[in-house]
């Protein structure tokens, strides 16, 4: 059994907590509750018959001028970089976070998540906007924490990548 630490990163109100809740408990709550500091959850899955335990660190979102609590990121194996499809400014925040994390910890496996895709009519983000940010990501996944669309997939893609990294290093 292996354990991996995964962080949820992104601006405030992009749906990081909702994605974790949908993935771990298959639940969605319309009511917004801001995460203060960090909330930790756990999800166990099997990849190629090996037990992988994901420790999900749902870290308080940051606004344009804020900074991620760097201490929470220490020892992280990978991360989900979450963007709200209905707010363009969250893409700019994600870009800033990604650059800072890469500078601080080097390149780490991560998935770019475009959330709230059930609100496609309100989308403010074009595919062309995502090219730069998705360049070094494992993949780009369009999700809806409300409907559960592709939620499992985004976590599992990251878990598989981490598992293969471990297999390669072993």
């Amino acid at each position: 059994m292996i354990r991996k630490k995964i962080c949820m990163l992104g601006a405030t109100m992009v749906g990081k907590t909702s994605l974790v809740r949908q993935y771990v408990d298959s639940l969605f709550d319309e009511k917004y509750q801001q995460t203060i500091g960090v909330k930790i959850d756990k999800k166990t899955l099997f990849i190629e018959s090996e037990e992988v335990r994901l420790m999900l660190w749902d870290i308080q979102g940051e606004d344009d001028s804020g900074s991620t609590r760097d201490a929470y990121l220490r020892g992280m194996d990978g991360y989900l970089l979450v963007v709200d499809s209905t707010r363009r400014e969250t893409l700019i925040a994600a870009n800033s976070i990604h650059t800072r994390v890469r500078d601080m910890m080097g390149p780490l496996p991560h998935v770019l998540v475009i959330n709230k895709c059930d609100l496609s009519a309100e989308s403010q983000i074009m595919d062309s906007d995502l090219q730069a940010l998705s360049g070094d990501a494992l993949s780009l996944v369009r999700t809806s924490a409300r409907t559960g669309q592709h939620v499992e997939s985004c976590f599992e893609q990251l878990a598989s990548a981490l598992s293969s990294v471990r297999s390669a290093s072993a």
């Binding site: 059994m1 292996i2 354990r3 991996k4 630490k5 500091g37 960090v38 930790i40 756990k42 335990r53 420790m55 660190w57 609590r69 760097d70 201490a71 929470y72 220490r74 020892g75 992280m76 194996d77 981490l162 990294v165 471990r166 290093s169 072993a170």
Partner: protein, 424 residues
């Protein structure tokens, strides 16, 4: 009347003359009459009397500042009686009044019983869980619980411990090895020991035993020595670290509480309540004993011919050292009247000649043995003999008087004065 007086010029003049001659005296007389009426109403009306005394009483108490004063001595039995009656009718009133004093005393006593400074093998504690956590990622490497402890999700606990550690380091800008070492929530302590690669956290319920920290340090150092290479390349796989479990179980066994402290942990609330009750009872008993002892001392202080020169009061031990004139009352009877057994007080009495008037009179009466129909009175140092004792007895008495302690002269008298002291 005045109309008539003014109608008649002679009467009017007479009235004017009278006013000139005795007017001031008449006014003074009227003022005095009003004053007498006011004083009468103060003496006869309950409300007026109450108002008068309510003004005077505080002054009286202030003036009698000496705790040995007559007013204090007179009030003390009444106050004792009132307190006694109050407690018998409703103990809650006094309990509530005493709570601001008793509460902190009891809390302090109970707290002292459980405080960390009193660590011993009897202290209540239990090392419930041990976690070995990867220092950088916060992922759990190994976890063990003491028998009978409800299982907690080790991953979540270690994750939250790491989050708290990260928060403290980030928020207070502390260096890693100056980081979190002890976290206390209620009666749960989390003791955290650090090494370059791993963190060993112990969840202790109750007072942490002295033996825990050295055991944790030794185990941590052992883990580090055995697994340094594997820890260097830790990738989340806890497989290579399975042999750490027996090491943790060894620590749990070594720090397991004794049977007595197990009993202590289970029955602590009852022990605490019993201790509180014992302390309360002890305090009440001490207050009662102290009050009883002080009442005895007060009576002895008032008793003619007895002087208390030393006294000691301890738990189950009381000592009195007194000077006693041969003509003073029996001290054992006084002691027994205060509900003490005669042998419960170590009494040491030495004889002395008291200068109290009544004692001197008793002494003179016993020495001179006056015949029937003859009474002896004392005024300062002079004996007055009233009656017909006969010349022979009087001459003999005159010769004896200089040898009686506290008497100088003996005189005949026809009648007794009220100011003289007589035997009861």
């Amino acid at each position: 009347m005045n109309a008539l007086a003014t109608d008649n010029p002679a009467t009017a003049e007479f009235e004017k003359l009278r006013g000139l001659l005795v007017g001031p005296e008449q006014n003074e007389l009227e003022a005095l009459q009003q004053r007498i009426q006011s004083l009468e109403s103060q003496l006869t009306g309950i409300q007026e009397r109450a108002a008068f005394f309510s003004e005077a009483l505080p002054e009286c108490l202030d003036m009698s500042g000496n705790p040995d004063s007559r007013l204090h001595r007179s009030l003390m039995p009444k106050v004792d009686q009132v307190v006694h009656t109050s407690v018998r009718s409703d103990p809650n009133i006094l309990a509530e009044a005493l709570y601001p004093i008793m509460g902190p005393i009891i809390r302090k006593t109970v707290h002292k019983l459980f405080e960390s400074g009193k660590r011993s093998q009897w202290s209540p504690y239990n090392v419930e869980q041990l976690f070995v956590i990867h220092r950088i990622s916060g992922l759990v490497i190994s976890h063990e619980s003491a028998p009978g402890i409800a299982y907690h999700d080790a991953d979540m606990v270690s994750g939250m411990l790491d989050a708290v550690r990260s928060f403290v380091q980030e928020a207070f800008d502390s260096h890693e090895f100056d980081g979190l070492r002890l976290m206390t929530v209620g009666d749960v302590n989390v003791r955290i020991e650090w090494s370059p690669h791993v963190v060993l956290a112990a969840v202790v319920r109750g007072v942490e035993p002295d033996s825990l920290r050295p055991a944790l340090e030794a185990t941590l150092s052992d883990i580090h020595a055995r697994y340094e290479t594997q820890l260097d390349s830790f990738n989340g796989d806890s497989g290579p670290f399975e042999a750490i479990s027996p090491m943790l179980n060894g620590v749990l066994a070594k720090t397991a509480p004794s049977r007595l402290s197990h009993f202590w942990r289970n029955y602590r609330p009852f022990v605490a309540i019993a201790t509180t009750l014992i302390v309360l009872t002890g305090i009440v008993w001490m207050i009662y004993e102290s009050s009883k002892w002080n009442q005895l001392l007060d009576e002895l202080a008032r008793e003619p011919g007895i002087v208390v020169v030393n006294q000691e009061q301890g738990l189950g031990h009381k000592k009195l050292q007194v000077l006693q004139d041969p003509y003073a009352r029996n001290i054992d009877a006084i002691i027994e009247r205060h509900e003490y057994q005669a042998n419960s007080i170590e009494l040491s009495a030495s004889t002395f000649y008291s200068d109290d008037e009544i004692i001197r009179l008793k002494r003179a009466t016993a020495s001179l043995s006056p015949p029937a129909g003859t009474d002896i009175y004392l005024n300062e140092r002079t004996l007055h003999v009233v009656g017909e004792p006969g010349d022979a007895w009087f001459e003999g008495a005159e010769k004896l008087v200089p040898f009686i302690q506290g008497i100088q002269v003996i005189e005949r008298a026809t009648d007794a004065s009220q100011e003289w002291t007589s035997l009861p």
